[in-house]
């Protein structure tokens, strides 16, 4: 295939060539960046919470008198346990994708000098880590005497579980077991490390902090009341939660059920990521519309060119060019224009990504997206040009003999 005559012909149609190339370039830039944004949102939506979500539900009560907290906890725990299918009920301050219950800055020294970030704290009564289904990777689970009364939001001095990610962050390369940290006057000593336990309110821009959590064993009381973890078989969970919510009015008429947060963990996860899902849907919509518009643009312009060159095509055919030659001519032409656009598009994609990283804290565009985006656009171009090119190939040689 000779490229020289194609380039010569394109030089005659400089404006239209540049237009399609620019369109392809913009499409390439938007496509790569939109795909990268979709990927980062999807990966955020697949965060590992570290707990047996499918078996867990959360009940939050409000509006009760803190003086009656012990009585309320006792009533609710025994009342909910009576529901058939409930395996266990625990008092816990919050759950992953639940309300933010305790995010506090920690330091590695008592004086409060060596600040190490803001993890989130979980506090639960005896048996909570087992009910959550936390995976221990080092050390031990809290024993009965590790559970102490909660003062303020954690016990004054507690023996805690932390996640592997937080352990690695606080003491890189060291064994975290037995290590200590503080927040203000509160003291913590690590007795176990768990694989994962994600934060309550996950913020994708602070991804390094998604697993920065501490589990502090505590005893129910005025500072740990009104929020409960229910464990049931996954197939029973929806029914159990419906019954539990209905039972609250009877068990605790003095409290108000918080409908926003009282739900199964899978439902809380879905709610938590709904804006991400909406944004992902929007991005997919834009990509589809964009590819459609680009493809139709190519079809329109290529059809025009075919119509314009009808006579020349007839002459070429009369001079011995086969149908395949004509078909290949238009396909190669399209390939060249799209390639030109892709080169521009790659530069533009990187530029836009840098701007997005600066203004919107979007993550860096993985470089392998660029060749994939290029392949998609080459394919799109070939697909769009196919119909006009076939029409061109069907031009009979006899056209050459008519009114030159």
């Amino acid at each position: 295939m000779q490229i020289q005559p194609i380039l010569a012909a394109l030089r005659k149609h400089r404006l239209a060539t540049v237009l399609i190339a620019m369109e392809i370039a913009l499409a390439c830039a938007v496509l790569c960046n939109a795909c990268s944004m979709i990927a980062s949102r999807l990966s955020a939506m697949h965060i590992d919470s570290g707990v047996d979500e499918a078996s867990l539900g959360f009940i939050a009560l409000q509006g009760f008198d803190p003086k009656t907290a012990n009585d309320l906890n006792a009533r609710v725990v025994s009342g909910l346990r009576a529901i058939s299918g409930v395996q266990s009920v625990h008092v816990i301050n919050s759950v992953p994708f639940g309300p933010q219950a305790g995010a506090t800055g920690i330091t590695l020294d008592q004086a409060g000098k060596q600040f190490r970030g803001v993890p989130e704290f979980y506090v639960g009564d005896p048996g909570t880590p087992e009910a959550l289904g936390l995976q221990l990777v080092a050390g031990r689970m809290p024993a009965a005497d590790d559970y102490q009364p909660v003062k303020n939001f954690v016990p004054a001095s507690s023996r805690v579980l932390i996640t592997r990610t937080l352990a690695e962050h606080l003491w890189p390369g060291e064994n975290a077991l037995g290590k200590e940290f503080w927040t203000g006057p509160f003291h913590f000593r690590v007795i176990g490390v768990v694989a994962n336990l994600s934060v309550q309110q996950y913020d994708e821009e602070g991804e390094q902090g998604a697993q920065w959590t501490v589990f502090a064993p505590g005893l129910p009381g005025p500072q740990l009341a009104g929020t409960y973890l229910i464990r049931a078989n996954p197939q029973d969970l929806d029914r159990v939660m419906t019954e539990a919510k209905a039972a609250i009015a009877r068990i605790a008429p003095d409290a108000v059920l918080d409908y926003e947060w009282s739900d199964t963990l899978p439902a809380l996860r879905t709610k938590f990521f709904r804006t991400d899902r909406a944004m992902t849907g929007l991005l997919v919509g834009v990509i589809v519309a964009l590819l459609g518009v680009t493809a139709f643009g190519i079809v329109g312009l290529a059809s025009f060119w075919v119509a314009q060159r009808r006579k020349q095509i007839g002459i070429r055919r009369a001079l011995g060019a086969t149908r395949a030659d004509i078909l290949r001519y238009f396909q190669t032409e399209n390939f060249l224009i799209v390639s030109f656009g892709i080169v521009l598009g790659i530069v533009l994609a990187i530029g836009i990504n840098l701007a997005l990283m600066k203004w919107f804290e979007v993550s860096r565009l993985p470089l392998w997206y660029l060749p994939v985006g290029a392949l998609v656009l080459w394919g799109l171009g070939q697909l769009a040009v196919l119909a006009p090119a076939l029409r061109a190939a069907a031009v009979p040689p006899v056209v050459a003999t008519r009114s030159v």
Binding site: G63, D65, F186, A249, V256, L301
Partner: protein, 440 residues
């Protein structure tokens, strides 16, 4: 002449129907996407109190004495002592303390289970200062503030829910364990954003959609609220754990907001001096250590909090990038459309039409296609806004198309098509008549 061009344009629409439909659809989709996002952005970035916002200011003093961070900016809320000191100095034309909290609410008359509602505890200036409209009754008086009177103003939503929309002034509401008398009922009031509660934007990573929630349902005098909901307040931040969580009076926490109204530039200057001298004086007394203060007006305060959700801005950029692609597409197709008629244009030129006339005619055609695209774009925008309203965001009920955005749709569509048409029209007007006539 324009009428003639329009007639020609209408006639040419009938030829090349596929090409024309393609262009109209591309413009419509591009305009639909851009106008949907632009309308959302327009609604979210508006001034909640036009005409008044430049006279409202948010006061900041740094009550945190700990050297943990640089203290380049004072915190977004005041500690109790500073807030009450500044408020009771009454150096502004109007001043309102604000703090919100959740409270269990019942109406003894209405037979309903209790509700957990947001309560704003504020001072009497709040209502005139923010031009809050009343349906029944009125705000409480400054004496009620001082006497910690058990009175409340309720939202129109709550009045509908508890009292069926009747005049409920004088009726009793049970907040927590306290009975308060209703003195006022608001008209539906939905500032966008709910500006007076805005704070903490720089820590929100761009997710600021919570700034667009509805105002609180219950309003009580500041001290009354602190009394009846003691133990249920949330801090903005604390520099040491509060001895009694939820009870924040005289605790090491920032949690109260102070809004002031200053009606002249001179008063703004003197209030700034007052804030600085207060900070200096407190530093001398040893209560605070950092004397950085701020007095931002309402829009500055909103901008400082980057109040427009980042997602909305990102979507707008995305939509306009898409519109740009549609624009390039239209340029290419218009070029094909005009050059295909090279023969016809050649005849017109030979019969005496000037280049300008050909150019104007081509632009008229482009403009007509833009207008048609605008109609399609308007319909698609309505569809887009309907989709946005179905999203579970706090501002979804605010999203609608206003007159300005309606006209913007068509202006944008026509402008885009004229820009797209300029280059092809120029090319068409350069067609040499002789060359075309030869081939006829």
């Amino acid at each position: 002449m324009f009428a003639y061009y329009l007639e020609l344009a209408l006639r040419s629409l009938k030829h090349n129907r596929a090409l024309n439909v393609l262009m109209v659809v591309a413009i419509a989709v591009g305009i639909g996407a851009s106008m949907t996002t632009l309308t959302v952005l327009h609604i979210l970035s508006g001034d909640p109190l036009p005409g008044k916002s430049a006279r409202l200011f948010y006061a900041q003093v740094d009550g945190d004495p700990t050297p943990d961070y640089k203290h380049a900016e004072p915190p977004d809320a005041l500690d109790y002592q500073s807030a009450v000191d500044l408020w009771s100095a009454r150096r502004a034309d109007r001043q309102a303390l604000i703090v919100d909290s959740q409270i269990k609410t019942r109406a003894p008359e209405a037979n309903r289970p209790p509700l957990m509602l947001m309560m704003l505890s504020t001072t009497s200036d709040f209502f005139p200062m923010f031009e809050v409209p009343f349906e029944y009754g009125s705000a409480w008086t400054p004496e009620d503030d001082a006497n910690r009177a058990r009175v409340a103003v309720i939202s129109s939503d709550l009045n509908d829910k508890l009292f069926g929309g009747q005049d409920s002034v004088g009726k009793t509401l049970r907040l927590g364990d306290a009975d308060v008398r209703i003195v006022g009922v608001l008209k539906p009031w939905r500032p966008s954003p709910q500006f007076y509660d805005v704070r903490g934007g720089r820590f929100s990573n761009g997710d600021t959609s919570d700034y667009y929630t509805k105002p609180e349902d219950v309003f009580t005098p500041f001290y009354t609220g602190l009394e009846i909901n003691d133990g249920n307040f949330n801090q903005f931040n604390c520099w040491a754990p509060p001895p009694n969580p939820g009870h924040l009076v005289n605790s090491p926490c920032n949690w109260v907001g102070l809004w002031v109204e200053l009606d002249s530039a001179a008063k703004v200057v003197s209030y700034r001096e007052f804030l600085n001298s207060y900070a200096q004086q407190q530093k001398t007394l040893g209560r605070i250590r950092y004397t950085e203060t701020r007095l931002r007006d309402l829009m500055q305060w909103l901008d400082f909090n980057q109040y427009v959700p980042r997602n909305a801005k990102l979507q707008t950029w995305l939509a306009f990038a898409f519109l740009a692609i549609c624009l390039f597409n239209t340029v290419g197709l218009l070029l094909a459309k005009f050059l295909r008629r090279a023969g016809e244009i050649g005849v017109r030129r030979a019969l005496g039409a000037s280049r300008g006339a050909v150019f104007a005619q081509c632009l008229t055609e482009a403009g007509l296609i833009g207008l048609l695209g605008g109609v399609g774009g308007w319909l698609l925008t309505l569809l887009g806004l309907w989709l946005v309203r179905r999203q579970p965001t706090p501002y979804s009920d605010l999203v609608h198309m206003d007159v300005a955005m309606f006209f913007t749709t068509f202006v944008l569509a026509v402008v885009v098509s004229l820009i797209a048409g300029a280059l092809p029209a120029l090319r068409a007007s350069r067609i040499a008549p002789a060359l075309q006539l030869k081939t006829l």
